[in-house]
Symmetry: C5
Subunit: 338 residues, 5 copies
């Protein structure tokens, strides 16, 4: 009697092994547990991914693997590491793969237990890189959803149907990262059509929600930008200055905002839309640009000898510029976050 | 009877296995499906490539592999993963390789099915890096054509002739990237001469068209550049300013354009031609350079006491500079896009 | 009699090998020795790790492996490199893995010695990458604690209990790095619950304390920053200068601090809290900002013709600014380091 | 009769295989074909290399491998991929290695054909990284010579003598890169002394000439640099400006050249000599430096009330500076390119 | 009779192989030859290493491997590549490893020759990454000592004693790098205590001296820095300039030195001490700082109406600044290089 579903090709039984699936669809229970995030792409990455250490547990029943305790001398056969890998080639198994994975997963530890009644438990720890579809419109106040899509490569849902195994599902709550906060895990199973077969495949989806900590972007980009914009308002508080002195300062402010924009740009992917962060930079551009226009106007007034207009401008600017700027940021926030 | 076309070298049948091809050219049907793009080189890469996850399906018929259902007990032998790899070494197969690939492909999953009538279906999922011939002249409004060229390494077209398999060809429409949009796939088969043989090889070409989303380059480079150029025109709106104050501002504008140029340069490969983006930067250079020349001229007029000429210059400059600039950009666009 | 706890699956004894643990929990002595640090993440890394060369020694007793010296002809069997790996698959062993490791460890050398009385000594040298939980609040005066967590992957504490082996534990005192100083090693064993089993696992923790050398950050960031802040105080030492000249210098100082801030930012991860280093930069911002406000006030006084107030401001500023700055740095130091 | 020159070590014929070379030196014909360049080091690399996809063909005759067509049933044995690798271990072969390679080559496809008369054809496609000795003195107008040095690792020229095989030698003319142009290939065989043996080894050298396209460096570095230098000459065209205004502009020009120099420096390796590109930057330094000295002199003349000297300086400078600059660049070109 | 010192574990002789060392300590002759340096860490690397291509030759005598020429048919058994690796697992060998290596070495070619009298010659070519203890205090005039420490992993000096083999030791004099010059090789053998055993191990040390070519750092950092410092002295050559104009120029010079400092900083590791290069930057800081103080003093003199003091300052500064600067650089050189 050969091992569950495996047969050696060729007449002499010594060649590669081929397998036959059980006669009825096999229910495969899947547990997935996030041990740690190894990396989440920086926001500047055009093809975002995450890399994680995962514990995977698969359990199913194959009556063809049942054995009698007496003849073998144990009630469960434990295969470890390389031996588990070899045994998996000899028996039928769900041949799992990850749809959104990049490259092969790197299995670090592996255990296969075959119980005498044909119940099989396979568990492994692996590292994989997964594609993630990042929505950065609210950046740096964005939330992301890291998902892993598991399917059988060979066996469509006539053979394999997945089912979540809640007691082996979750994430390591001791794990901490400096930029992201992890919370709640969801699992889900559905049928999905693939190019590999005319029938649908059973797909198991594991997802974990993560929130970005915006602190870095606030302290390192937004606050310094606000300082530059605010110092630019100084113009309206310094009466009697000639317009060309004002203009020079405004030019410096504008170029600084341009330079800042470049810093923000290197922190974002080559996306075609404007994020909330871009919005703030453009508001800053607008504020400094308006100061510049008002300075040009002031210079013309000076030239025409109407210096009292410049004084009026200053009176209005002192109040209007900060108010309009804050209003614009507020509106921006409302637009982007609703 | 040995497996289809394979024989063990040496007298005792225990050494490495050599293969013989079928007597007539074998028609091999090829299906290729793009699961996801893992990376497309940034425009700064001198040796551009793309990295992709691909599903490959090969189907052919080898009568020598036919078997009787009764003796084996199944109507199809299914070999998975490592066992499929071993079985491929024992039978004749098309020995596929990718002409424009860099390094070896990384096969993640593999399935080989031999039907009782000798029909063979081989499918795998792999990741590979492929050379791409990027034409960047219209950058950032460029389109690229990502192609994969498959051939048999050993068997020229006396032995293997490819044929596209449309039902297993396409790309994953759920897949999204932040910089590129994928659309339409083409496949094609032709004969190609290679150094490996005196006869031609059958070559299967899969290609997918992608468009770059220019948004990033517009929002992060072109618009800030236009702001700098436009503020430079302020010169013509500020009557009565001494020429050296004007000159100083123009110098700052010029240096800012130089700095911008460096930013654009780090975004482009070390190519010998000028892209559309470079064209825009050079138009900006020209605009600021002309402002500078007009300022020098103005200074000389001032020195000669002909201040009315400066006023005239301002009158003309207010209109001429924006108009000429926009015209130049328009002409540039027409030149580059026709 | 088969090797300690290993059995071939299948009736003919030629398939993969399964293992059975000894009947009583096995005491496994663990020695760990840090040969060298290959890398400690730069402070800019969001997912900090360290990479190290480690010597690992495991010793246990398995009576099933005892043999008689006469029949074998030696009192200890020595298995090296690949042979040690093969022998480990044939016997029962603790199946060690590292909980906070990223990817698989790369074993470089390996030795397995089985003594005739069943005492087993396994030692290897490997390279691994380990996650480290960096606390950067006191940066660049921070200390870190590099830890390695070892567990059995398959055998919970009903089977394996670890115990430190002090004579094979330590770190290489000849090893030197340019940024970090290593001192004292601690080891510890405790029980830990894992998703892999209903029972707890015995966990062995090795940790080494390292101190960052702050010299680089002092000489390359803090001192140049202090030079900029101090030159800004020059304003109060140059009587009779018009306020707009003062203002211009202050603007340059402010922008330089902004640029410095960016340099510091690229040296820190995207963390949401402010480190001691950020604190110093913000104090510098405040100092330059206050100078700017005082200059605006001076300009207004000048405009109102009260130049004697400007002179008074200079008198006060000469003393107050340096004193307040130093006080602020001192307070900051006390807040962050207690 | 064992395979050509191979014997199993140990009495029972089941251990590793050792080989004996043919009695007379074997003539090995070598064909090498460059399929594509995967990378050529950027000029900033201190240890320059190139990475290439290569097709290699080796042909030799080993009478010990002859077989009779009848007994085997084919006139040539074809071994593919892994089987070719195994067969190579069983027969004698030239044991080729690449002297200037870094790391191991990655073989992607492999074919071994043994003809019934003992003629052997081995071909493979591989990727390798090769050290290249770059001479950058004429940069960016430099030409490089990419070479590959092949030798037998084990068999000196008493056993193996190489000979070029022109019909399998060349480079892929369809291959295009964005920075380099490939042209003409040379091959050569000579004897070379190595530390591995007291006798010389036969060395086969393949080399392909490549030219750098200087366009990038002209458009992105040289032309912007010339713009800066040229605008600096504006000084001589603006009569009546006070010397401190002139000085300020010259200072800005100087700092811009310094910044440019840094950009050029990051594009070059840490070499101890000055390239043509450095030469141009130093000429620009000299031009701006002379303008600065002339401005200092002008200021002193102004101070002494000799403003007519400043006007004379302007008259001369208008002509002399451009002329001297162009002459210097011309001389530089002649010095570096002869 | 089994191969020299190797025995199959288990009763049937088919399991993994264990080895026994020869009865007396074996003298192992070691030859090491540097083929090329693949990389030496840039000075900015905190954990410096070098990567090299090495040829290694080991020779020893194991009487248990002797065989009679007649029975085998050859006087020396030659094992190549994979077969050499397999044979090494079957015989006793010194089990060499490299103490200061990072990760495993990558063996590219391998040859094992067993002579009929039991003399064994093992040679391989490999690539490895080795930790190097860089002393950067004299940077960029530093010399480094690249060393490789070889030991047996398993056999302490009761079993293995190394001895240098001068005729297979050296470095490839044809090899050239752009930044480093190689000269003289030393080898040395001594006993060293390791955590792996209670007895000492025989350690073989190979070292090669390399000198950094300081040209890059002189031409790209030091000379531009001197140009900035020197132009700052222009202040003393321009009589009659108002102090605020002077001050502005000095401020620009100071900020440029700050920026330069950052460039130097990115070229150095995060070390806690100041290198010679840092020393030069700090001297430049001091020079510009003193100019600034002298300008403040000049401004105060101007304000007090003592303009003759400013003229005196200029007289002294013209001479004192260059002299003091050069003296400071000279003293620095003497301090750092003695």
């Amino acid at each position: 009697a050969s091992a569950g579903g495996a047969h050696a090709a060729g007449e002499h039984g010594s060649g590669p092994v081929f397998v036959t699936p059980p006669h009825t669809p096999t229910k495969v229970e899947v547990g997935m547990y996030l041990i740690s995030l190894v990396e989440v792409s920086a926001p500047s990455e055009s093809f975002p991914t995450f890399k994680a250490e995962i514990f995977l547990d698969l359990e199913w029943h194959d009556p063809r693997l049942a054995f009698s305790e007496e003849s073998i001398g144990t009630e469960r056969e434990v295969f470890l590491e390389h031996e588990a890998e070899l045994e998996l080639e000899r028996i039928w198994w769900p041949d799992i793969e990850f749809e959104n994975e990049q490259g092969e997963r790197h299995t670090e530890s592996r255990e296969l237990v075959i119980h005498h009644d044909g119940h099989v438990e396979y568990s492994e720890r692996f590292q994989g890189v997964f594609t993630v579809d990042m929505e950065l419109i609210k950046f740096p106040f964005d939330h992301q959803n890291l998902t892993i899509h598991a399917e059988s490569f060979s066996w469509d849902d006539r053979y394999v149907v997945f089912e979540p195994l809640p007691e082996k599902t979750g994430f390591n709550e001791d794990f901490k990262t400096l930029e992201w906060t992890l919370h709640d895990v969801h699992t889900e199973v559905h049928a999905k059509k693939e190019v590999r077969s005319d029938e649908a495949f059973s797909e198991y989806v594991y997802s974990v929600n993560v929130d970005r900590d915006p602190g870095y972007y606030l302290y390192k980009i937004v606050i310094p930008l606000l300082i530059i914009v605010a110092f630019n308002w100084a113009t309206f508080w310094m009466p009697g200055e000639p317009a060309s002195v004002r203009m020079e300062r405004t030019v410096i402010a504008l170029l600084t905002v341009v330079a800042f924009h470049q810093v923000v740009a290197t922190n974002l992917p080559r996306i075609g839309y404007l994020t909330f962060m871009d919005g703030i930079v453009y508001v800053a551009f607008a504020s400094v640009g308006l100061t510049m226009l008002s300075t040009i106007w002031a210079q013309r007034q000076e030239y025409l000898g109407k210096e009292e207009n410049v004084a009026k401008l200053d009176q209005i600017g002192k109040v209007a510029f900060p108010v309009i700027f804050l209003l614009a940021v507020l509106i921006l926030y409302l637009v982007y976050h609703t």
